[in-house]
């Protein structure tokens, strides 16, 4: 037996023995049976260890007939552990495991008061064979109405309201459905009988008929748990055993959902106005990071054009080759469905010192990602003479040095030390036709690192957070 197999077998044996020590009976190879005594009496349970044990919790079934409730799988097993939060393998502690089972009984018999509002009604239905994702926006205006849907290759989208067709329509792209609201169900519905009992009685009969006559095949159900609302998308079929419901994967696609994962800072960044100087490799990924973070307005400035050789280390795709880098980045960001950033571009080089002060005063933050020996000193010097700090980001020594500087250093911090880089061996320089300077062989992951580091500092500066340092240097030269 390999050490890996042995580790798993050992964990399994120790768990089984621990339960046996606590009065459970083991029925090899994978089932135990035992009793728990609660205030209301004794409850027998069976515990099964799947092949995924110990990295997946045991499956626990109450032996007696228990009323359906939340936190019960389709096969009747208790839902003891949330999907997120299993990394501690807490079930391997036999006492904690048994205690949790006891609490499940207690909660079930009390009707799950103070339950967390898990929005997982779909798990109480068997899954459909269709693995397409049903996308929906705000369904409130469509509650109680029939809807038209479009069946795409990987998604099913809602086209809008419409009456149920008069007869069954077979079309690979067109479909019809109904939107129902069931409020806050005390017990999760799991079939047509239990679901239809929660739908407006005025509509149920017609809906039932439409499904049996195969005039509609989808029912989107909105529901609520405490203050949260959710949707379960169901496929509805008429069968010899009655109307059969199967759940489909579904997801909201409204603007708020699309931006939800921008994070907690998004609200504060919505009013921010940023200028990114340089839309090269670092600048492009920096613009990407700040858009995703929720920055409200962004101007991207770069006088260079996108070449094919840039693509491996740039945000923009091949369709933008030949365009200005600033426009290429703006266009890439602008088509994203979650975009909430007002993006402007400037395809000119910054060379006139007279312009600089206006830029510093006109934006909440200017970020220099030019790595341009002419621009950077100009920006930094201007910042030192005003109350408008700037952020510099660069990559040196072909990615072995990543550096972000706040200029001037925030109060209470010191300027970061210089990081001198030796001149490269001329015999190792690589040139590309059309480019005057040697090509930097900085790896793409390094520019991404620099961009994300700069984004972190930029967000802190835009939100007015105290900075403990005037930047950060990541020097990898010692690891060469």
């Amino acid at each position: 037996m390999s050490p890996w197999d042995e580790a798993i077998a050992s964990a399994r044996e120790q768990f089984v023995d621990a339960l046996e020590q606590r009065g459970f009976t083991f029925f090899p190879p994978d089932e135990l049976s035992g009793s728990l005594t609660e205030r209301d009496g004794t409850h027998r349970v069976t515990v099964r260890l799947s092949e995924r044990f110990p990295f997946s919790p045991p499956s626990v079934h109450p032996v007696a007939e228990f009323p359906r409730s939340w936190h019960r799988e389709l096969d009747g097993a208790m839902c003891l552990y949330p999907v997120t939060g299993r990394e501690a393998l807490s079930w391997l502690d036999a006492d904690a495991f048994i205690e949790l089972i006891g609490r499940w009984f207690e909660q079930t018999l009390q009707g799950w008061p103070d339950d967390a509002p898990d929005l997982d009604l779909n798990r109480y239905f068997y899954a459909a064979d269709d693995d397409r994702l049903v996308l929906y926006d705000d369904l409130a205006p469509l509650v109680g109405r029939y809807i038209r849907l479009r069946a795409n290759r990987h998604t099913i989208t809602i086209l809008g309201a419409g009456g149920a067709p008069a007869k069954s329509i077979s079309s690979p792209k067109r479909a019809f459905g109904y939107v129902a609201d069931i409020g806050e169900p005390a017990v999760p519905p799991h079939d047509w009988t239990s679901l239809s009992a929660l739908i407006d009685p005025a509509d149920v009969h017609a809906l039932d008929k439409a499904i049996r006559e195969r005039r509609i095949e989808y029912v989107l159900v909105t529901y609520q748990r405490q203050d949260s609302r959710a949707v379960v998308a169901l496929e509805a079929h008429d069968t010899v055993e009655g109307i059969q419901l199967r759940s489909l994967a579904s997801a909201p696609a409204d603007p708020a959902t699309l931006r939800l994962r921008s994070g907690h800072d998004a609200a504060g960044l919505a009013e921010a106005d940023v200028l990114i100087l340089g839309a090269g490799s670092v600048g492009s990924f920096l613009a990407d990071a700040l858009q995703r973070a929720g920055v409200g307005k962004m101007t991207i400035r770069d006088g260079d054009i996108l070449r094919p050789g840039n693509l491996v280390r740039h945000l923009a795709g091949p369709e933008y080759v030949g365009q200005s880098k600033a426009s290429a980045v703006a266009a890439t960001l602008g088509v994203r469905p979650f975009n909430a950033t007002e993006i402007s571009t400037d395809s000119s080089y910054l060379s006139d010192p007279a312009e600089v002060l206006g830029l510093l005063e006109g934006y909440d933050l200017v970020i220099d990602a030019t790595a341009d020996a002419a621009v950077t000193p100009m920006i930094n010097t201007a910042a030192l003479t005003t109350d408008h700090p700037v952020l510099n980001v660069c990559v040196k020594d072909e990615g072995r040095l990543v550096r972000v500087d706040v200029v001037p250093p925030p109060p209470g911090t010191d300027e970061l030390p210089e990081t001198a880089v030796a001149a490269p061996d001329p015999t190792t320089l690589v040139f590309e036709a059309g480019c005057g300077d040697p090509v930097s062989l900085t790896p793409p992951y390094t520019v991404a690192e620099a961009a994300q580091l700069a984004a972190r500092f930029a967000v802190a500066m835009l939100l007015g957070r105290d900075l403990m340092t005037s930047g950060e240097v990541r020097d990898y030269r010692a690891t060469r």
């Binding site: 936190h71 501690a88 391997l92």
Partner: protein, 335 residues
């Protein structure tokens, strides 16, 4: 407390009669049966040989060394027990003769006839002639006498089945584990039948636990040890569960009983200590010593996964452990 159900389950597999045993025993029985039922000299008694003994009761352990054939004489007469034995011997001796080394295959014993089957890996068939009594019991020849003595072997099979049901299937495996332990710790009598019947008596008196197989085994050992202590001290006897009012008699000398007492007392203490042990490895070492090797020379009790033969843990035994409790009492989300 170490229960180690999985290891005891595997141990039972290790002492279960082998496929060869399960093939050879019925073949040997069938062979002897054919010889006896076709013999003209025995036809007057209407011989009906049936299997009895540990193999019949499914409490044999590997390797099955002998098979007991109870040759029921449905139409007995007044022939003495020894004369019946002589007649059976003649029939069997004529049928089986000698082996390849020239040794006689049939041996006449005090109360039975032993037929050797060298072709079945040293298996023996013990043939015991029995005549029917008026009260439903049977009688077998008495040692060194022309008389017959009463017996009721079929009933033991019935009692075994009932006790196994009462004990939720733990009784028969318990017998096997205890017989294996006897084979490991004793080099002489009393034999496996004593262990089985002492255990049966203890179960009958509620001295044996039904909680799990391990505890059935441990309390069974303790009950046998207690009986042996009492037997040696003041002559306690075992009632014959197949014949009311009669006690069982076993062939063993006083010295052998004392030796058995000493060994079983130590074994019972070791088993109890193992059961109470928190460390699975240490417990397994003790159970391994008690259960020894099977008839094929293989270790009966395997160590739990992740433990060395000396009971120490390997690294793998401690690799996968629970992390911080993230569901304190009264809080924490359910799935």
């Amino acid at each position: 407390m170490a229960v180690l159900t999985d290891r005891f389950t595997k141990a039972l597999e290790m002492i279960e009669p082998s496929p060869e045993d399960k093939t050879n025993a019925p073949l040997a029985h069938s062979d002897v049966r054919d010889v006896l039922t076709s013999a003209d000299a025995l036809k007057k008694w209407s011989s009906n040989p049936v299997l009895i003994g540990s193999y019949r009761r499914d409490v044999s352990i590997r390797r099955v060394k002998d098979v007991d054939v109870f040759c029921r004489m449905e139409s007995p007469d007044e022939t003495s027990g020894q004369a019946v034995l002589d007649a059976f011997f003649t029939v069997l001796d004529n049928a089986y003769g000698t082996d390849d080394d020239g040794k006689k295959r049939v041996r006449r014993q005090a109360r039975s006839l032993q037929v050797a089957f060298p072709e079945y890996e040293g298996l023996y068939v013990d043939v015991v002639p029995a005549r029917k009594r008026w009260d439903g019991y049977w009688e077998i020849p008495t040692k060194d006498s022309e008389d017959w003595q009463t017996t009721n072997p079929d009933e033991l099979t019935t009692l075994k089945t009932a006790m196994n049901y009462t004990y939720g299937g733990l009784y028969v495996p318990g017998v096997k584990l205890l017989r294996q332990t006897r084979r490991t710790i004793l080099t002489s009598r009393p034999g496996g039948l004593f262990v089985e019947l002492c255990f049966y008596d203890a179960c009958n008196r509620g001295l044996v636990s039904k909680v799990n197989q391990t505890l059935t085994y441990v309390t069974g050992l303790e009950a046998i040890a207690t009986f042996l202590q009492n037997k040696v001290a003041w002559g306690q006897t075992l009632p014959d569960p197949t014949m009311q009012g009669k006690d069982l008699a076993f062939r063993a000398t006083d010295i052998q009983w004392e030796a058995a007492r000493d060994k079983f007392v130590v074994a019972a203490e070791k088993a109890r200590a193992a059961y109470d042990e928190q460390d699975l490895g240490k417990a397994a070492v003790a159970f391994r010593e008690l259960l020894g090797e099977n008839g094929d020379g293989e270790t009966v009790f395997s160590m739990p996964a992740g433990y060395n033969d000396d009971g120490t843990k390997r690294t793998s035994a401690g690799l996968i452990v629970p992390g911080e409790k993230n569901v304190p009492a009264g809080t924490g989300r359910f799935g």
